[in-house]
Point group: C2
Chain length 258, copies 2
Amino acid sequence: MQRYFLAETTADYQTAELILTGEQYHHMIRVMRMKIGDEAYLVFPNQQAFIAEINAIENESVVMHWIADETAEKELPVHVTIASGLPKGDKLDYVIQKGTELGAAGFVPFQATYSITKWDTKKAAKKIDRLKKIAQEAAEQAHRTKIPSVESVYSFKELLEKSPQFDYCLVAYEESAKAGEDQNFAKTLKSIRPGSSLLIVFGPEGGLSPTEIEALLAVGMVPCALGPRILRTETAPLYALAAISYHFELNEPIEPFC
Amino acid sequence: MQRYFLAETTADYQTAELILTGEQYHHMIRVMRMKIGDEAYLVFPNQQAFIAEINAIENESVVMHWIADETAEKELPVHVTIASGLPKGDKLDYVIQKGTELGAAGFVPFQATYSITKWDTKKAAKKIDRLKKIAQEAAEQAHRTKIPSVESVYSFKELLEKSPQFDYCLVAYEESAKAGEDQNFAKTLKSIRPGSSLLIVFGPEGGLSPTEIEALLAVGMVPCALGPRILRTETAPLYALAAISYHFELNEPIEPFC
C-alpha cells in the first residue's frame, strides 16, 4: 500500500477530513490511478502513521478519512547519523537512498581532504534539496515513519564541532580492517542503550587522511572495522546500518544494557 | 595495494617466476604504471593469496616473485549464495558488485513470475560473462581470496531442484516483515555451523508470487524478514550479507554451535 508523508499534523485526524493536494494528489490520482474507497498510509511529521481511505476526489485534491492507526515500530531503536566524506559522482544519492531504506536517522555530507568532488556553493542548496527528496521517497517506499534529515555539507571542522551532540561516535577505518581489528563495532553496539544517538564517520574514495583520523580519535571517536573485506565508500554505511538493525531488531542484545 | 586473480595455481610459487600477461599486464603497467620493485597481491584459484614484487617488465608481460603469504581470513565462514529473481535494469549488476564486496560465495539469477525482465537466450551467455567480470573486479577491490560464482539464469523449477544442495535455505519474504516476523533470520544464523552453505532467495520487484512462496516453503525453505522496513529487491541481499558478516565475523556466536 502506498505511503504519503503529510507536511502538517492534524490533531483530530481520526475524525477530520484529510485533504491531499499538489504532488501527492498527482501521485495518487494521476500516477497510481487511485479511486474512491482505495486506501493508503498517511504519516504526520510527528511520525503518527495510519491507514486512510479516499472519500472524494476533487479537482486537484483528494479527501480522505482515517481507518486505523499503524502500530508496528518501523524506526531503528538507535538514531544513526551517517557522515560521508563527499564521494564521487552519484554515490551520495545512493548512500542516502539505501541508507534511508536501512533506517538511518540522518546524513551529514562533509568535505574531506581526499574528496575529489568540491561542491559549488551556489548549487549546494539545490543539491541538498534533491537529496532530501531522495530520502523522502526512500522513506515512503521503506514504510518508515520518519524522513531522515540531510544536512548541508559540513567542513571537517564543523564535523568535529558537532560530534559531541551524539551519545556515541564511531569512525569506519580501513586500516582497522587491514590490521584485523574486529571488536570495536560490536563492543560499541553492545554498550548502546536503545534511544541513544550514534554518529558514524566514513571517508570518501581513498579514505580519511592520517590528520583527519588523528583529529577524530582526539575528540574521542572509536575507530572500527566492518569485517575483513575492504568495502567501497558507498557500501560501508549500508553494512553498518544493516548490522545495527540485525543487532537491535532481529537479535537479542548479547548483554543486558548497563 | 592492487590485487590480481591468476587463472592457474603455481605449485612452487614461492620460488618460481610468476608471469602476468594480457589484461593483468595491461592494468599493472598501462593503468597503474607499476615499476620494477613495486608490489601487488596475487591470488591463485585455490585461494592462496600472497604479496609479489615485480622483477622485470617485458613486452606484454610482467615477471614477479613471491614476497610473503597473506594469512588473514577474508572469506565469510558461511558460504552464502544469493538467488535473485531477475530484477529490472542494472540492479543485478549492483547486487553482484555489492554482494561480492560483502562476501557472497555465489549468485543465482532466476526467472521469477513477477520478473519484468526476460533474458534473450542468445544474449544470456554474454550477460553472464559481464556479471562474472563485475564479480572478479569487486573481489579484487574487496581484497577477497575467492571470486564468487555467477550461475546462468535458472528457471524457478531449477532453483527448487538445486536447493537440496545447500545446508540451509532461507527466503526473504516481505509479508513476514509486514507481519512483524523477526525471529527466523537470527534463529537460522545461530544454528549454522561455520563452513556450511546457505541459500537465500529474493524476489524481484513485486516480490515472489504466492505460488512461488508455497513451493519454496514446501521444499523446506524458511521464510524470514530482514527488519521491519520494506527493502528494495537490490537492497535486501546486502542487508542479509552484512548481518551474516556481523554475526560471524564481528560478534561472538550467541549460543555455542551445536
